[in-house]
Symmetry: C2
């Protein structure tokens, strides 16, 4: 992926996100090693997944049960800085003359590249090539391969390389969303430059976490401690046509995952120095070969789209936490937006990709909710519940960090979203071991909450009141269709899986029952609640209703709402928005996609109805509209909404890519192809397909890992399948058993 | 009113509120002149009505249109301190021996009294009598009459009297509601002790207001400036059986209402010194004679209740602002609770007393909303409205100060509450001049908002969605019965009054129309909206429904909710409470009281229904339940709820009287008698009565000022009326024209 390459401040900040190098454990934004011009703004950032500081929440008017603290991802020690001086002049893109300048992210080889051909004011001509690698195989390791080639200069070149712990989180006085305090989160604990390796550790004050970072170089450098940083310096002579190559090894180790992070940080760099950089670049490529084997999407007909799609997929891999207590934050590790919090985005928008291509990584995401069950129990109690757990709406460590309950804690659907992702994982993998060890406990305890939130009304129907669905433009509603239908599914599957496990091995089941404290009466209650769940439907419109008051609300004249008034939430009081029949994002139709639980005609009508009143002010929306347009065979619409997703960050469509990439949308891009165009669903009886194909493409191909079998699907004018093991495939209700390669005619496009 | 007189910290703090001396312009809490013991907590406070500092509001998660600033009543310069030293010992109640100790508020003479008989550790025996007067006739003047009588001591007595500007607002670290910052709000500007008078002025930083205060004494004192205070000192010789009398004159003048407040502050004290204290004590008594002529309530049968009722009435007089830009804050001038803000309490709970007894003062309250229309216009715009004004939920200067819109800005009913109070004023006074000058503009502009908030739904009914009614335990509901029924009344009366004024004088009307910019189409819309207003009714229960989802909500098991879990809002997350069919306070039945718009059977059923689910966690609730119990002739219930109101502060029933008196409840006490027991309503065709009488009372008497006629009503086994002018009286639908005295038999108790 090559990016647009302007040197204006805004483009540079967007590229900091787009060209960040992350491996899921840490992420480094794509800042220039030498920095920008002084008058430029920059978010010079390095983040560790799950590494946070605790911050206070203050309320104008607080109330019982509100969270008093939040968490914020910390901008940790900065290892990016490298400065070179030629004949006394600092190399930088804002002085002298830039002859050539390219930047790209190589998603096959797993590094970012910056190439500059440059003539200094004094006329010295250089070619500089910088590669950055965040190792997928040694998660603590960051490498900068910095090569200087002299075209016409002979003389001394001075190289300075810094490890800087004098760091702050980003704030911007002119933007009130990031203007607030909470910027200086790290405080230097130890600095050490003995034995030719530079190491600093820093601590957070309240969460009491430590991050350590070491650096060393292939060139012999002299290290000097200067306040809170260590600067390495070396002078070399260079001649015309000669190259000098600096390899900078930087490690990041944190106290959550490392016993003695200071020592381990040194160790990572020492080992890396011994192995040399080529070892890691090769490893990286091999790791990615294996990754792409299951993950690559090919588009025949629009090469730019293929690039964009796989760029987004690569960002999913770069964002996913691979060690304990990590997940995927809304912006991955590419920025500080949403303070590094994890949301339902994970389960509904990101897990699907991993479940279908890389179940091992999917398990990591799923386990996070298991690891944080204790906090979820506390949150349920704060919300007044006598049983069950409540998954926090936004969190890093597991405790609720939402300071606005109407579109935070009130989104109870997150309990069912988490459950949904466990169930989908089970369907794609058949992994009952995981169920027994982790899954069922999460499923059961999250399901218990429904019994306490909802109730059987006078007519014996199960009602869930005063919750907020995915659409944040109507809040605290009764019987939100999305929530109820997912809760119904959730409750049904807890019963179903219990019975599967019981049948599998009764004594195992009894042990499990007692471990989780599963109560038979509660299972019966769950069954009843699921069966009696209210799913709102309008006889008149033949659509499912978003909530019990939705139809009655005032109409918002979207056609005559001017462009600059979007997103509505930045231009209208919430109370005003809540009064209208207007949706921020897919809600009912998201349920239709996930559950495939209504007739075609209802889904079609619902799609048309909600499309008219949805602003897509959330980046979580267009991908779902694309998928459901595919589902109801509106190919042009499907392609239209797909187009809104694939380049959402690449073209900075939301205007805030500088704060980090929209990783849920990245997952959405994948889903528009696989769930959308191809119509894939994993159900109990096998893989379902019901493809369409955009007329712009001659064919498209994706792979999945289905029950340990690599399955390759190509949709052209036919459906071509390649599978390692025999699979059951249902195409528009016709069932096939397929082994090896098979080409099927298909006339239903 | 004599009060309980313990020297424990809690009782003292409660008495600070109960024995505060206020005149509506300023209020001084009933602190001891000499202070308490060092380990005691105290809210030593003096407040000026409408004198505030602007404070920041911070939100955990803000949104468009939220207020960024609030306002807070300022604890101003303290003039209370007087210390006397006998033989080197400071007189105080925590050393030596207290022989006798009484405190009371004399509501006929208008001062508070503290009497102590005390023997010092050294055995010196004194009698001390302290009277405090906040003058109703010279609003800026506060007098302390401090008399020391020696029983057995002969020797020197040293008197110190202080004017202290080193003041802060109250905070208490163990109570998070008052723990926050915003305590040091005043900064000394000028100090002057020339010409034998002590004067200090202080400023607020952000609202940029100045308060000046002067003091002087009948005794010649030497004044010393010490940091931010001026201390007067004098030594006198006293003999056994002799008295020394210190008269301390203190003035308060603020820059909102005074051109040169520093100078005017001196002036007030200089004039007072010339007149002498007796002049003001006499004036005070005369002022109160006139006041009680219209306001006194007599109870034959329970003298303590008579005292309690008239104590509450006196607090209404003490709290009401009598100059421009003032109103009545929720706690009057007796404490800092609710930060000195004005709420709907004024119009619905306090205006009625003034309208019925003192229309001149009622006009002051009504005019406040006129004076702040510009801010109300801005607030409407922030809430997204293209027309109309939105009365702020809580304010001092007129701008919205609510930091929690769900039970703040969302309470749109305040627009109709204000309108209601104007209409009631008109009915009781026939004052069309006031309507033309102020009233109609407020009525029309507040009514316009309904047309923008509500809408005609598909069935042509007028619907008002996403607002909060008086009951703050269900928020942001659709078609709240209270809101809709008051809006209906509001809209109807705008049309009606327009037509009355048009008929009265067409050219005046045209001038007025153009001044207010009244649009004929909007009047037609108002008429339609009023006629088509949705008023929810359950055929099954034969009650009015609080909102369109109310009946469907979960039941809260109030019977098994333990005492310590009340008020619910301090023990449950709001979201939990909102999910239940539980009311904080009277809502639907408040509308029934105000509008008398439903059949007896509906009102009866509604009363029974809502009584079961109401917690009365708001002090605004029991009085309304008492009134409606009277309305449906449940005498025992009426008396039961009346009892919850009359001593609510006197017996500190809510536990927070230390933070100030519940002035809306004080208005409620009056209403339980006049609207409740006697069943009085002022309608277009005259005064309606439908009395009941508690069996504990042999008779009760009240007076009103009806169209400039003093009308005295006594309910015993008969109805006795005395009126200055002929009035039209309707008793249970039978109409009488009454002049002079008349005794009517009545068998319907």
């Amino acid at each position: 992926m090559q990016v647009k390459n302007n040197l204006d401040n805004n483009s540079l900040m967007v590229n900091e996100s787009l060209l960040s190098t992350s491996n899921g454990y840490f992420g480094v934004r794509g800042n220039f090693e030498e920095g920008y011009r002084n008058d430029y703004d920059t978010i010079r950032g390095t983040y560790i997944n799950g590494f946070y500081e605790t911050t206070d929440i203050t309320y104008g008017e607080g109330a019982f049960g509100y969270p008093n603290t939040s968490q914020k991802i910390v901008n940790v020690i900065d290892g990016q800085t490298i400065k070179i001086y030629i004949d006394g002049e600092l190399f930088n893109l804002f002085d002298g003359k830039v002859i050539d300048f390219k930047r790209k992210l190589d998603i096959e080889k797993g590094y970012s590249l910056r190439y500059i051909e440059w003539i200094s004011k004094k006329g010295h001509h250089l070619k500089i090539t910088i590669k950055r690698l965040a190792s997928f195989t040694t998660l603590e390791l960051f490498i900068i391969d910095y090569e200087v080639e002299s075209v016409n200069y002979s003389g001394e070149i001075q190289i300075e390389s810094t490890l800087n712990a004098d760091v702050k989180n980003y704030s911007n006085k002119s933007d009130q969303r990031v203007a607030s305090g909470h910027t200086k989160l790290l405080h230097v604990d130890k600095i050490d430059k003995n034995h030719g390796i530079a190491t600093i550790s820093s601590k957070t004050k309240i969460s009491n976490l430590t991050i350590a970072s070491s650096m060393n170089h292939n060139l012999n450098m002299e290290y000097t401690v200067k306040e809170n940083s260590i600067i390495g310096m070396v002078k070399k002579n260079i001649k015309a046509s000669e190259k000098i190559s600096l390899i900078k090894y930087i490690s990041f180790t944190d106290s959550i995952r490392h016993d003695d992070c200071f020592k381990e940080s040194k160790n990572v760099v020492n080992v890396a120095m011994k192995n040399g950089e080529k070892y890691y670049f090769k490893d990286q490529e091999e790791y990615l070969n294996e990754f792409w084997k299951y993950s690559k999407i090919n588009i025949d007909g629009e090469i730019e789209e293929e690039k964009a799609i796989n760029y987004n997929i690569y960002q999913l891999l770069s964002s996913i936490g691979k060690v304990k207590n990590t997940n995927i934050s809304a912006k991955g590790l590419s920025g500080e937006g949403y303070e590094g919090h994890y949301f339902w985005d994970t389960e509904i928008y990101m897990v699907p990709f991993f479940t279908l291509t890389n179940p091992q990584l999917a398990k990591r995401l799923l386990k996070f909710r298991y690891e944080t069950l204790e906090s979820a129990k506390i949150e349920a109690e704060k919300l007044g519940h006598k049983k069950g757990v409540k998954i926090p709406w936004r969190t890093i460590s597991g405790s609720e960090c939402s300071a606005y309950f109407l579109s935070g804690s009130a989104q109870y659907h997150i309990n069912a979203d988490v459950a949904y992702s466990y169930i989908q994982y089970y369907l794609a993998t058949n992994d009952t071991e995981f169920l027994k060890e982790f899954g069922l406990e999460v499923l059961y305890k999250t399901a218990l909450l429904w019994l306490d939130v909802g109730y059987f009304n006078n007519e014996g129907k199960f009602s869930i009141d005063a919750v907020t669905g995915p659409d944040e433009y109507t809040v605290m509603v009764n019987n939100n269709y999305y929530t109820n239908s997912l809760a119904k599914y959730h409750l049904k599957w807890v019963c179903k899986l219990s019975s599967i496990l019981e049948k599998e091995n009764i004594s195992d089941w009894n042990r499990l029952k007692s471990k989780i404290a599963i109560n038979e009466n509660e299972l019966t209650n769950m069954k009843n609640a699921s069966e009696k769940m209210i799913l709102l439907y309008s006889d008149e419109l033949k659509i499912n209703l978003q909530d019990d008051a939705f139809l009655k609300r005032k109409e918002w004249d979207l056609e005559n709402t001017s462009e600059e008034n979007y997103p509505l939430l930045l231009h209208y009081h919430p109370l005003y928005i809540y009064r209208y029949k207007v949706s921020k994002q897919a809600d009912t139709i998201l349920a239709h996609f996930l559950l495939d639980n209504e007739t075609d005609i209802i889904m079609k009508n619902s799609y048309s109805y909600y499309e008219k009143i949805t602003t897509h002010d959330s980046s979580l929306s267009p991908c779902i509209f694309s998928i459901m347009a595919s589902r109801i065979k509106k190919i042009d619409k499907a392609y239209h909404y797909y187009k809104m997703t694939s380049k959402l960050d690449i073209e900075n469509i939301k205007g805030n890519t500088k704060d980090g990439l929209h990783i849920a949308n990245a997952g959405g891009v994948y889903m528009t192809i696989v769930y959308g165009f191809s119509g894939l669903r994993i159900k109990e009886n096998g893989i379902h397909l019901s493809p369409i194909k955009p007329k712009e493409w001659t064919s498209y191909t994706f792979r999945i890992n289905y029950k340990n079998s690599l399955v390759k699907v190509t949709i052209s004018d036919k459906i071509n399948i390649e599978t390692e093991k025999e699979i059951s495939l249902i195409i528009d209700k016709t069932k096939y058993l397929i082994s090896g390669k098979r080409s099927l005619n298909y006339n239903n496009f």
